[in-house]
């Protein structure tokens, strides 16, 4: 099922000229309307009419999160304020919030992109969507909401929080689709179990999970526990919100970036150089159609790779791999690069481990230390100390072998690690800042 067959399956020889004409139009618009971009273009000596091919993209300047902060709140708007019909903002967990505006057409485009995403997941009219993404300034809730309505599905706008009530409505409303963060889906699963409700008896068949990095092993875990097909969705408020890219149920292997609206590149996060297709690096996105707040070469900090191999679902849009982590979340532990998702994968490979874990980074003298806290559940528990110590040793050994990092593994009581109803807080970095 494809929502917008014409655009989503356009041959690349038709897609690329469309992208180019939109890119040229974009560069002209921001040059004319956004002083920030006009200055940047002047600084590097580039004029809009010099953009003649998609290949010229690499001469354009990057936009970084800090640029959005510096222009807080409305400094990057490219349209008069009265044309902005909605304002969202990122959570601001790592600093000042970044603000994004939408025109009426932006909101409509967003809804149709989310409808594409739903259809890629096999969701259609007649489905009931339980939407546990937060509503408000965060783009997750409303993005999913308008997409489901655009599609004609039934939406349950439960938002985040109130887990016991969520479980009650899962039972009473019989949704067929669950939208939440992957970690919250497991939280719901636990809460349902406590309430004596078995997920496998609920009619939910698809989960659309995003807003935090997760691993393939976590997907397997969710699928087997919740009895549904778990699919990855990607988006970020600076670019639009959820629905920038979506994994198709047909292949379940990579997320199609809706390329008629977003132009992707992969760069080396250190040098900023473009990398060839297939190589892993930082995803950079250019908004081709955004009116209110278009961005040129926005550095997402998300680490992934692009896959141009045609997909069996029929979509021609490039696929991005599951996000491996963020270039700014990448932990450098005694000089070794480690993504939290890699540790998660190792934990889930160890039989019986719950996917609830926390990484505590600290420094002793000049040495970084990593402590991995893992919850022990009943399957894993033994009344003999040496069995538990052997388990700690096994995890420690796996981390050392596969990641080359010495970690201290600490078993903790179930439910002792904080559960978040939004993004999971996996990393506590107590190292003194340089």
């Amino acid at each position: 099922m494809i929502f917008d067959i014409e655009n989503e399956t356009a041959p690349r020889e038709d897609l690329e000229p469309l992208q180019l004409s939109r890119l040229r139009n974009l560069v002209e618009r921001v040059n004319a309307n956004v002083p920030f971009y006009r200055r940047k273009f002047e600084e590097i000596g580039i004029r809009p009419e010099q953009v003649k091919s998609l290949n010229d993209l690499k001469y354009l300047p990057f936009t970084e999160k800090q640029d959005l902060r510096n222009n807080y709140p409305f400094g990057l708007f490219a349209v008069p304020k009265e044309n902005v019909v909605r304002i969202h903002a990122s959570s601001g967990t790592t600093g000042k919030a970044t603000v994004v505006g939408y025109t009426h057409r932006d909101v409509r485009n967003w809804a149709s992109l989310m409808a594409r995403a739903f259809m890629a997941a096999g969701v259609n009219r007649g489905d009931v969507v339980h939407n546990a993404y937060g509503y408000g300034l965060f783009t997750g809730g409303l993005g999913v909401h308008y997409g489901a309505e655009e599609l004609g599905a039934t939406i349950v706008p439960i938002s985040g929080g109130g887990t016991r009530r969520q479980v009650m409505l899962l039972r009473d409303f019989g949704p067929t689709v669950l939208c939440s963060t992957p970690s919250y889906s497991l939280f719901l699963f636990e809460a349902a179990q406590e309430a004596g409700i078995s997920f496998s008896e609920l009619p939910i068949r698809v989960g659309i999970f995003g807003a935090e990095p997760w691993s393939e092993e976590m997907r397997q875990d969710i699928q087997s526990k919740l009895g549904l097909i778990a699919l990855d969705i990607y988006g970020l408020s600076e670019i639009m919100g959820p629905g920038v890219a979506m994994e198709c149920a047909a292949a379940q292997k990579g997320l199609h970036i809706f390329e008629d609206h977003f132009l992707p590149e992969i760069i080396d996060p250190i040098t900023g150089e473009q990398l060839p297709p297939g190589e892993t690096g930082e995803l950079v996105l250019t908004t081709l159609t955004k009116e209110a707040q278009p961005l040129i070469r926005y550095r997402t900090r998300d680490i992934t790779a692009l896959n141009y191999v045609p997909c069996r679902c029929g979509r021609t849009h490039v696929r991005m791999n599951r996000v491996k982590g963020r270039s700014d979340d990448m932990l450098i532990i005694r000089g070794v690069n480690v993504f939290p998702s890699q540790i998660e994968a190792l934990l889930l490979e160890t039989e019986g481990l719950t996917p609830h874990y926390q990484l505590i980074l600290d420094r002793q003298g000049a040495m970084d230390t990593l402590e991995v806290r893992v919850e022990v559940d009943e399957k894993l528990f033994s009344d003999e100390v040496r069995h538990l110590q052997r388990l700690e040793g096994k995890i420690q050994g796996n981390i050392k072998e596969f990641l080359g990092v010495t970690a201290k593994v600490k078993l903790v009581e179930p439910r002792s690690l904080t559960r978040s109803e939004g993004k999971a807080k996996r990393i506590i970095d107590q190292r003194p800042k340089a």
Binding site: V376, E378, D383, V385, L388, S416
Partner: protein
């Protein structure tokens, strides 16, 4: 002939043991015997209680990880060499003791040892053959 023991995973932090005793106290479950094995990070509290089903249920309701193991309670003569003769017997039969702890009887005549064996059934057999008294669960919970 076996005795049900419950075990509880505890993080080493202040107040965790108190949380267990509070839950059991509120549930009116009496502790008959206990042993605590600990490492620097965590401990395993092993308990023999008057009502292990109830104890397990209330502890789980309060978020504890609870396990259940069959152990053997053996009456040991309260004299020099009393324990040694039992251990020797087991060792001669290649039975390994995973852990053990003592149980104090009110009568004060004999001591009771709680054993966790690697081969529980064989251990029970050997003890019985040698006329060593094993205290059954029902008797122990209500002593």
């Amino acid at each position: 002939m076996k005795v049900e023991q419950i075990s509880i995973f505890l993080e080493n932090r202040a107040g965790r043991l108190t949380d267990v005793t509070r839950v059991l106290s509120q549930a009116k479950v009496n502790i008959r015997a206990l042993s605590l094995a600990d490492t620097s990070d965590f401990g395993i509290l092993r308990l023999i209680v008057t009502d292990h089903e109830r104890a397990k249920q209330v502890l789980k309701e309060n978020g504890f990880t609870v396990g259940r193991t069959s152990v053997v309670a053996v009456e040991v003569d309260d004299r020099p060499g009393g324990l040694h003769s039992i251990l020797e017997l087991l060792s001669n039969n290649q039975i390994n003791v995973e852990y053990m702890y003592a149980f104090v009887q009110q009568t004060g005549k004999d001591a009771v040892m709680i054993f966790r064996f690697d081969r529980t059934d064989q251990a029970v057999e050997i003890l019985q053959e040698n006329k060593i008294r094993i205290i059954p669960g029902d008797e122990l919970y209500n002593l």
